[in-house]
């Protein structure tokens, strides 16, 4: 594996880790605390009712001992440090809020950490759905050919030519986006066309190859041929395309958030921070709202692109190896 590939997968692991452990990285509740004679372990996860209305800063003075999360603020905790400040939020980065706060006094770092969860959920979720749909339609079209192929190919073309951005705006009016899930599903259902076309082409190639003809002669069913022989072989190039899809889904989320129809509030999302950044560009300037989420989006997109390239290199390396052994 090249250094670049290792870097790519390292960054990806970091991102996924941030998303998975967001609750333990940035939370209004501590990792562990002993207060009022009771010890709470990981209240950040168990959310005991006794601590429902407390914060780490509030607990710190009353507790016997306390283990803070690395960022002692929750993503939706508003005006956590308002007492010590005279000016209206957003507050610039300082010792308390390392990356500053947004207009509701919410910690930008905490929102970025939790926003990673949303961005990755959208990116990977949408691509996973796209992958399932695209793989199925592509394989069926490529393998059976004829009328089925024509029908699926036309469907692909129609979906492909759909201006997905406007489609979302229209859809946001019809569907009720009160969680991320419908957004992910709709994104997935509009982005399978690239994958379907790629899979179809791969299938057309694969089904004529000797090993497929061989299993067919052995009397294997279509389902078995598709599932055991065609799909596994068509998958590697598709995965490369899918990683790029993750990147573009994350960008689309930011764009939708910018129009105010992305992830519903108060969910932390990088796009949502960027809309605020737009409002605070000059009067009053709040550069931290633009720079950090911007870096997060750009960094993630670059990471996914690096991962895609790394996968591509790995794949061509293996196929070269196969050619050589032949």
């Amino acid at each position: 594996m090249s250094r670049r590939a290792r870097l790519a997968f390292g960054l990806l692991a970091l991102l996924v880790g941030t998303a998975l452990f967001a609750d333990l990285l940035a939370n209004e509740l501590p990792l562990a605390v002993r207060t009022g004679g009771v010890t709470y372990v990981l209240p950040a996860l168990t959310k005991p009712l006794a601590l429902a209305d407390t914060t780490q800063l509030g607990l710190a003075s009353a507790a016997e001992w306390i283990v803070h999360t690395p960022v002692p603020f929750g993503p939706n905790q508003t005006f956590a440090t308002a007492v010590t400040r005279a000016e209206a939020a957003p507050w610039a980065p300082d010792a308390e809020h390392l990356l500053g706060t947004d207009e509701l006094g919410r910690d930008v770092l905490a929102r970025l950490i939790h926003g990673a969860r949303v961005s990755l959920l959208i990116g990977f979720g949408a691509v996973l759905i796209a992958l399932l749909v695209g793989l199925f339609l592509g394989v069926v079209a490529g393998y059976y050919g004829g009328f089925i192929d024509a029908a699926i190919s036309r469907l692909t073309e129609v979906t492909f030519t759909f201006p997905s951005f406007f489609f979302f705006i229209a859809l946001a009016g019809m569907l009720r986006f009160t969680s991320v899930v419908p957004l992910v599903i709709v994104m997935g259902l509009t982005r399978w066309t690239d994958i379907a076309r790629l899979v179809r082409a791969e299938t057309l190639k694969l089904k004529e190859l000797d090993f497929v003809l061989a299993v067919r002669v052995l009397g294997a069913s279509d389902a078995r041929i598709l599932a055991r022989h065609i799909v596994p072989n068509a998958l590697p190039p598709v995965l490369v395309a899918a990683t790029f899809g993750v990147a573009s889904a994350i960008l689309l989320e930011s764009a939708l958030a910018f129009l105010g129809i992305g992830v519903p509030p108060p969910t932390a999302s990088w796009g949502e921070l960027l809309i605020q950044a737009h409002r605070y560009l000059v009067h009053p300037g709040a550069w931290w709202l633009a720079v950090f989420p911007g870096l997060a989006v750009a960094g993630t997109v670059l990471t996914m692109n690096l991962v895609g390239e790394a996968l591509q290199d790995l794949q061509s390396a293996t196929s070269n190896a196969t050619h050589q052994t032949r």
């Binding site: 429902a52 207009e103 009067h283 720079v291 750009a298």
Partner: protein, 570 residues
Amino acid sequence: MVPPMRRLALVLLVLAACPKKDAADAGASQGAAQALTPTRAWLDGRLPAEVTEGTPVKGGTFTMRVHVEPAGLNRLHDQMAEGTMSRYMAGTIYESLAELDRDTHPRYDLKPLLAQSWEESADHKTLTIHLRKGVKFHDGSSFTSRDVKAVADVVRNPKNATKSIASSFEDVESITTPDEHTVVVKWKKVYYLANRNLLTSLPMMPAKALEGDFDTLAINRAPIGTGPWRFVSWETGRALTFTRFDGYWGQPAWLDQIVVRFVKDETVAAQLWEKGEFDLMTRIAPTVWRSIEKPDPSNAWAIRGYHRVRFTDNSYGWVGWNEARPFFADKKVRRALAHLYPAEKVARNIDLDLEPPTTCPFYSEGPSCDPEVKPIPYDPAAAARLLDEAGWKDSNGDGVRDREGDPFQFTFASNAYSVKMGKLLPLLQEELRKAGIAMDIEKVEAATYIKRLRDQDYDACSLNWSNFDPIQDNYAIFHSSQTGKNGSNWVGYQNPEVDRLLEQIRAEFDDARRIELERAVHRALFEDQVYLWLTNRPMLDAVKVGVMGMKPSLAWYDLRKVWRAPAAKQ
């Protein structure tokens, strides 16, 4: 594979987001900082007296920012009846028979404009209007009673898309024109605002120009009126230009030209404003308003270059609880929600202390609001008691109150473009969560939003009601007959007592008695917490130094009186 260009673009995007740091900090001297301290009047948004002093001179162009571009300029048409531009065009391009007298704030008596005088019969059912003679339209034709009738007929024609204005003319029995300069209007029913509406809300257009398909009239793009300025051009997406009309019947306008610049985005508008592009900057965002107050050289352009205007409009924001939903049918619950609204936090952090709180569905500076009605204070303990009394208790210990097995969980539908709601709702959500109420937030695209409200297809919503006339009929908003498509009672409020009061008001011509009834309506509506009343939204504008004769009013600025001091002439 990523094409290299795309990677580069990403890096550029991030770089572009970094703002330039003002180098001015370093160069600021003590003396400059002193001169930069804004005056009290500037901070409060009161125009200094010298703006309305001096001898007017002719000449100059006046450029203003408008935040919304209408689909067309025919304000009779439903799709073009956009409030802001309609208001700005009244008195500039178009004139009505009478206007609101800006000198009689806060009453706003009627003042003759295209009508020289009018008489009302004793039974209030007949209005005789005597038109001004010698008035010419911008196309050179004379203004006569025929034009008045044509405008009224177009509005009353059920085939035309004029619903928003036609409701004021449903009870017209007949409109006759005994001679060229007399119009007689007969009403089927008496209505206290009938004549006032008729006299002030109809922009006069030439009868000829109204012939043909109403949706595609030439005047929809190129209006023809009788006002002191005439239409020159409309560059869609950019600007409207008006120029002085030399055939105007009254005192000719001082300004040569008016340019309306359409700039929707508030950040872009603020940047253009800083560059000095606007003589009148409108709808300044509260955050911008506050950020330019610092006596810092980087704010010199605003502190030295502009007067600020903060003026309370007849407009209030409200939150509506859909009374068809089981949680909100109960008045106790609505009161509890008012106790949970963090008014002070919102005032300090979101409104930045610029918006006065209100409790009233009438003009807050007029006499129709009962001063005894006080806002419901933020008091979570009182809210908890009310919710318990209403039967909403957390019986299963999951942190959310419930009643008969139903959790108290609802969705707040908000206009996706509302900056204020975007900030306010997360705060409200936090307060409600602490009180055991689960609130989701749904952002709805603006075009669908009003439809959803009209269909009562929401749990909770928020909107602003604005009225340019200080006398306003709340029948359409709170009468039980006005739910759904009939009117604007979108929360589904029903109270026979309020119905009776609203009906009485409609036939009450005595101001003192009417005001008593209106105060009773105010008390009853507030007692029932039909809405969670938020604030009066002020007009936050800025006028360039050297632009004279500006004075805010409910009828907006009177541009006929505006002139440019010679030094500031372009």
